[in-house]
Symmetry: C2
């Protein structure tokens, strides 16, 4: 291959990310631990392909109004449109509909993998990210939603390992539907579009606040870049009522020993004229009862009408998971942003089969969770032990030592054994030691001509060396003395 | 959401696969074990995105002559072409070129993930499949190739766990280049195209045999479907010489105590007039020496000139891993098809940077390896323990039992603890027990009205039940008697 005339530029594509080393290992360990909890609860693994026929995935993304509909799509050579998955739920619906007869019912599965969204990239906002989901398909019972909530708590507790505790906000979309019913929202297509706009307005409360949301609920809103988002067309009075609902004021009377239950019953009084709202209330009551059985208290979950979730396909229970420290109500309580969420989507499989297949699920935003944990655990992990062939003819000997050392360390330390590697670059001693530093190696084993002749290995404690160097500065004599502490010759094993 | 008028058909896209349950879990465990070996050898994890700018990936696939070039590609909204990765090596080259200064040199990384090829799907031939790779970038030493070979053996040995042993076939592309040099192949573009055709012809020896390969080396070949593949344009005499090389006849004289070394030296005599071939010979000699140090014998590897590999980017050492039983030469020896391979690709990073960055790597074909292992391990794994609420009011109690049981089992059995799940469908006792069978549950715990009242749980041994049912057939009386063996009431823990 000759040198190309037009050399391509080495750059990753817009909005995508490379991850490596310790942070990536940590993210993977997270997924493994969460998956283990899912499996403890009887969920089996499933892996569907990265892309699907576009019509099978459907269009349920919050930003479906953009021209590209928020997904990456391309045409197959038989002209059919393929789209990369934007979540793990839509492919699950396709899988269940395709394999319905062969599956146990209810069918419980977990899945982990990247998903792709064709969105405007921004700082910390990537077009590829990982999710780790669990779903139960074929159960209409609120107990299945409650199980999701309890399992999400168990999984988060497992990975948090004492650094804060999981905190769930739970609501039901039918409550808002009921409220809109009392406001005489029509069931026409226009009404459904408006309902979706109301949902998405509420979902933006954190970001836009009361004024922004009120604008979106009524006449629309222009953002800083000048882009205009159409409003849901509510009157000022109705918008105020929706804001009251979303901020919890409608049910603010709820007080008592069990505040969640009191709030639910308070809202029941408010919305009793709506049948659909009362279905949501009944589901919340049943979830409350199962939460008692699984040991979730008011420290772990709250009934919160501000939770609606952005995806169109949810039909009932919705919930959002965050990480909290302290106890709700106490002065030291704080809760970090959402690390996952889910809810009930009873119509997603019906898209294919006609008949309704009720389903509920939970999704962890892996990168978000990893970021939340990383902030609390900054220590730099040790790299592998490196073996440095200071003389070229020592390479074979270095391999022999590496093979033996790996076996020995694995016997002694099992899964915790550090890696062992032989330096294979072309550099001399200085470059080799610099390499060991870059690898965060705790120990280097040096085999040069001297060592080969004497049948020894020089063992260099790099962590100790680093500490000493940072204290001694430029003092050469002290350095030579310290060298003895850091470096020693040991005989080679047979 | 009303029922859509045009219901989409639930079908996965052509040439793609869903995987679930035990086989998927097994495949994932494989990857974890292989990755652990890679990390033991000092390789750190890397994850690059699923797609890249098309020019950054380049075009090195065997079937690049097809109109779509073998990759899935689509345009970003800024008109730039993106392509899904077809392997894990091309993205690595981009990553290294982009982050060169920040990386330790040599840079060792492992990666696992799906790759996509836009090929004609066929039975067992998928357009998405998983690879698990290790690569060393920045070492020109044949010791780095030998390390790949030794590590590949260590990883395969670990997952095989006694079911056969890894077997590596090793060669060097420069040997064939040298042979073509002695046949007066030109270095022009036309010569390079012909050289690539020669490579790919040899790579098809397993599938097409001597006659098919000879046709491809000379005037071309029409396959059964009528498709014509152009030939490399060699004369009959030259083609015969290439076939002789690929079938090992050129070096057949190699015999002696160490047959690999003898074969290398025999080929050295044959190709001594070619400088490029002698570079390959020298690399093979050095690899042979390191193989001695890492403990690889002729039972584990062979020098085999039929190995050339299909990807264009290899420049030197190439090798292929298979799984063997018995000892080479012995009558019971057999070797299953390739489960992975790799080699040296010194020019791939140079595409971006101009300067040459030598590199070598190994890739496991995860699905292939899993299939090879699965054939030897057919036992159906146990599913989770299921708790069946025969009465609707028992659901809360079932959750209480499940929470306690999970904690207890995990304390007793750690990672091997079976899952525990509560049945949440709407079915009665019969449907619930059928569900437990479908989940391959070893034990069901039943909580109905009776059990609730008496404060007990009925424990049903489903595996024992299954064995008895298969023996008793239709005998109802014997069945009633056997029932006592299978089913018993146990008091509930407080």
């Amino acid at each position: 291959m000759n040198e190309p005339v037009n050399r391509p530029k080495a750059r990753r594509a817009r909005g995508l990310n490379d991850r490596r080393g310790a942070p990536l290992a940590m993210e993977r360990a997270l997924i493994q631990r969460i998956a283990k909890v899912y499996e403890d609860w009887g969920f089996e693994p499933l892996e569907t392909p990265a892309f699907e026929y576009a019509d099978a995935l459907g269009k349920f993304l919050p930003d479906q109004d953009r021209p590209n509909e928020g997904v990456f799509a391309f045409q197959d050579d038989d002209e059919q449109w393929l789209a990369m998955r934007y979540d793990l739920t839509a492919p699950l619906a396709r899988f269940v509909a395709e394999n319905f007869d062969a599956l146990p019912k209810p069918y419980r599965r977990w899945a982990a993998g990247p998903v792709w969204r064709n969105e405007k990239p921004g700082p910390g906002r990537f077009r590829e990210f990982w999710q780790c989901d669990a779903d139960t398909v074929g159960s209409a019972s609120p107990a299945a939603d409650a199980e999701m909530i309890a399992m999400a708590c168990a999984a988060l507790e497992d990975v948090l390992n004492g650094l804060g505790h999981p905190y769930m906000k739970v609501s039901d979309r039918r409550l808002l539907d009921g409220l809109l019913e009392t406001l005489n929202f029509s069931q026409s297509d226009a009404g459904r579009t408006a309902r979706l706009r109301v949902l998405r307005s509420i979902d933006k409360f954190d970001r836009l606040g009361r004024d922004g949301v009120t604008a979106l609920l009524t006449t629309g809103r222009k953002d800083q870049s000048g882009d205009f988002t159409e409003g849901a067309g509510l009157s000022d009075h109705h918008a105020a009522r929706v804001v009251e609902f979303a901020t919890g004021f409608l049910a603010a009377a709820g007080q008592g020993q069990d505040q969640n239950l009191a709030t639910i019953e308070s809202l029941a009084k408010e919305l009793h004229s709506s049948a659909i709202a009362m279905e949501g209330i009944q589901a919340m009551r049943e979830i409350h009862a199962v939460n008692m059985a699984t040991g979730l208290s008011q420290d772990n979950w709250t009934f919160d009408t501000s939770i609606v979730r952005g995806l169109e396909y949810y039909t009932g229970t919705v919930f959002e998971a965050s990480i909290a420290t302290g106890i709700p109500g106490a002065p030291d309580f704080s809760s970090f942003g959402s690390v996952g969420g889910g809810g009930r989507y009873d119509d997603l499989v019906a898209r294919f089969r006609g008949e309704r297949i009720p389903a509920t699920g939970f999704s962890v935003g892996v990168s978000r969770l990893a970021a939340a944990l990383q902030a609390q655990d900054e220590a730099q992990a040790d790299g592998p032990i490196v073996i440095l062939p200071f003389a070229k003819e020592a390479v074979g000997e270095c391999f022999r030592i590496a093979m033996g050392l790996r076996t020995e360390l694995r016997m002694l330390l099992s899964e915790d054994a550090p890696g062992v590697e032989v330096y294979l670059g072309g550099g001399g001693p200085k470059a080799q030691l610099k390499y060991a530093d870059k690898r965060h190696s705790p120990i280097a084993l040096i085999v040069g001509g001297d060592e080969l002749a004497k049948g020894v290995v020089t063992l260099k404690d790099l962590k100790l060396g680093e500490r000493i160097a940072s204290q001694l500065g430029e003092d050469r004599e002290a350095y030579a003395k310290a060298r003895e502490q850091v470096q020693q010759e040991v005989p080679r094993a047979a």
